[in-house]
């Protein structure tokens, strides 16, 4: 499988098919037992990961949480950089000195994304980051994520089990199957960029969602038969 530089790929599949494992392999959190992960020039080290939970440190403020990756890498921390990413994730400066417990679930996720972006990653990996949010917040964050992606131009891999989300976000949707976990089909999503909220009600979008859904079900059925 190939992910083009600056592209947006969504991984879609049932639980336990290895979606998260692929992300962790790309992130270097797990080593492959077999095969290779290769990066284009200069993109090898600068990867960021957005976990399923916000995983913020409760004793650090929003600002300090976003600062953490820079501190850990002993990079010189510039306030401007932190300010930029916090603005990019649309987090009002009134919240910057707050502690995570004072924020809503959606805002915590925004902080988590800001933290991932602060190192200027070439590869951004997201592991079902919005699964715990309600539908409205999820849609809002999806739209914002696309804007961020358009601005940052980082190669993005997004894991989800929500078909609508996968289609709305991805340039390609890769469908995965379990035992053994593998990618069985990659469906291109020819929707125009920038994609806005209204796209969800267009016929082209709903047609794609139902196509991806039926493909997902078909592969599931194959698996059951086999």
């Amino acid at each position: 499988m190939d992910i083009p530089s600056g592209g947006f790929l969504t991984l879609l599949g049932p639980s336990g098919c290895g979606k998260s494992t692929i992300l962790r392999l790309i992130a270097g959190l797990t080593s492959p037992s077999n095969g290779k992960i290769q990066f284009g020039e200069g993109a090898t080290t600068n990867r960021s990961f957005v976990f399923q939970d916000p995983t913020l440190l409760p004793w650090r403020t929003v600002w300090q949480n976003v600062e953490l990756p820079l501190t850990l890498r002993n990079n010189s921390t510039s306030d401007g950089q932190i300010e930029n990413v916090l603005k990019l994730v649309a987090l009002d400066s009134a919240h910057w000195e707050k502690y995570p417990r004072e924020l809503s679930g959606g805002m915590r996720m925004r902080v988590s994304i800001a933290r991932a972006l602060v190192t200027n990653p070439q590869v951004l990996l997201l592991d079902e980051p919005f699964a715990a949010l309600d539908e409205l917040r999820r849609q809002q964050l999806n739209e914002d994520l696309l804007e961020i992606w358009a601005e940052q131009k980082c190669t993005t891999v997004f894991v989800t089990h929500n078909v609508g989300e996968a289609v709305f976000l991805g340039q390609h949707v890769a469908i995965m199957q379990s035992s053994p976990g593998r990618i069985v089909e990659t469906i291109p999503i020819p929707l125009q960029h920038p994609r806005i909220a209204a796209i969800r009600t267009q016929q082209e979008f709903t047609a794609l969602v139902s196509h991806v859904s039926s493909q997902l079900c078909r592969h599931q059925a194959d698996e059951v038969m086999a």
Binding site: F49, D53, L57, L68, T71, L72, R73, L103
Partner: protein, 259 residues
């Protein structure tokens, strides 16, 4: 009436009733003063021996306080060592438990032999008795980290030191506070026990010393005063530590799922 007032009022009422029963019982049954002094006799001692009692309480509080402080610093340091290597933890942990199960009354005479009579022995007894809860709690806190946080640090190639100072220690703060709360109560007990054995110098006469000496001299009114004062000192130190820990824990709330 507010709940706060009743929480103070009713125990106070009960206290008054008990004191009255006590006073009546002493009078009616004509109990000897060296068996059970009347409440007024105990109160008299509080007034006449006020300065002695206060300086005794001060000496005990100083030993308990210093010993407690040493326990916190040493306990956290030991827990840091334990968190760095399973081998160290496995080899040393049984001895930490040994330290805990050893009856302090049995060891105290040995400590007096080694360190002599006085403050240093009393403080040593305090440290021995209050160290264990800090070690166990701090070690638990530093080794049971949120796996998500560990991955995050791994992702950014955090060094061992960064992991220790930016994740392990801050994660362990609530555990350390819990350990300190338990230890603070034990520290007062330790100081009294220590003084019981080692408090007999001219300079240092703590509550434990007076418990021991007035007991054997049958000055039971003074003994009662010392017992009450010891309990009050324990409560005071416990409240102080609870107050400080509540302040710390407010910043350190771990409940990230309250929304």
């Amino acid at each position: 009436m507010s709940a706060k007032i009743s929480r103070i009022l009713w125990p106070a009422v009960l206290f008054a009733v008990l004191v009255i029963i006590w006073a009546l019982a002493v009078r009616v049954f004509d109990v000897k003063a060296y068996i059970l002094p009347s409440p007024s006799a105990v109160f008299d001692v509080f007034v006449t021996e006020f300065r002695t009692l206060m300086s005794a309480a001060g000496a005990t509080a100083a030993a308990a306080g210093l010993g407690f402080f040493i326990s916190v610093v040493a306990g956290v340091t030991i827990a840091i060592l334990f968190s760095q290597s399973t081998l160290i933890r496995m080899s040393c942990y049984p001895y930490a438990i040994f330290l805990q199960t050893m009856p302090i009354v049995a060891v105290a005479p040995l400590i007096v032999l080694w360190f002599g009579f006085g403050f240093q022995s009393v403080t040593t007894v305090v440290v021995i008795i209050s160290l264990f809860p800090i070690i166990t709690n701090a070690t638990t806190g530093m080794t049971s980290l949120d796996p998500g946080h560990v991955e995050l640090f791994k992702l950014y190639n955090a060094s061992r030191w960064q992991l220790l100072f930016k994740l392990r220690l801050p994660s362990a703060v609530p555990h350390i506070v819990t350990g300190a709360r338990i230890s603070s109560g034990l520290a007062v007990v330790g100081a009294i026990v220590g003084e019981f054995f080692a408090g007999a110098t001219d300079k240092l006469k703590g509550l434990g010393y007076y418990v021991q000496s007035t007991g054997s001299l049958l000055k039971t009114d003074m003994l009662f005063a010392c017992i009450f004062l010891s309990a009050a000192l324990g409560v005071a130190i416990f409240l102080l530590v609870s107050l400080v820990s509540r302040g710390i824990l407010r910043t350190w709330t771990f409940d990230l799922n309250n929304n």
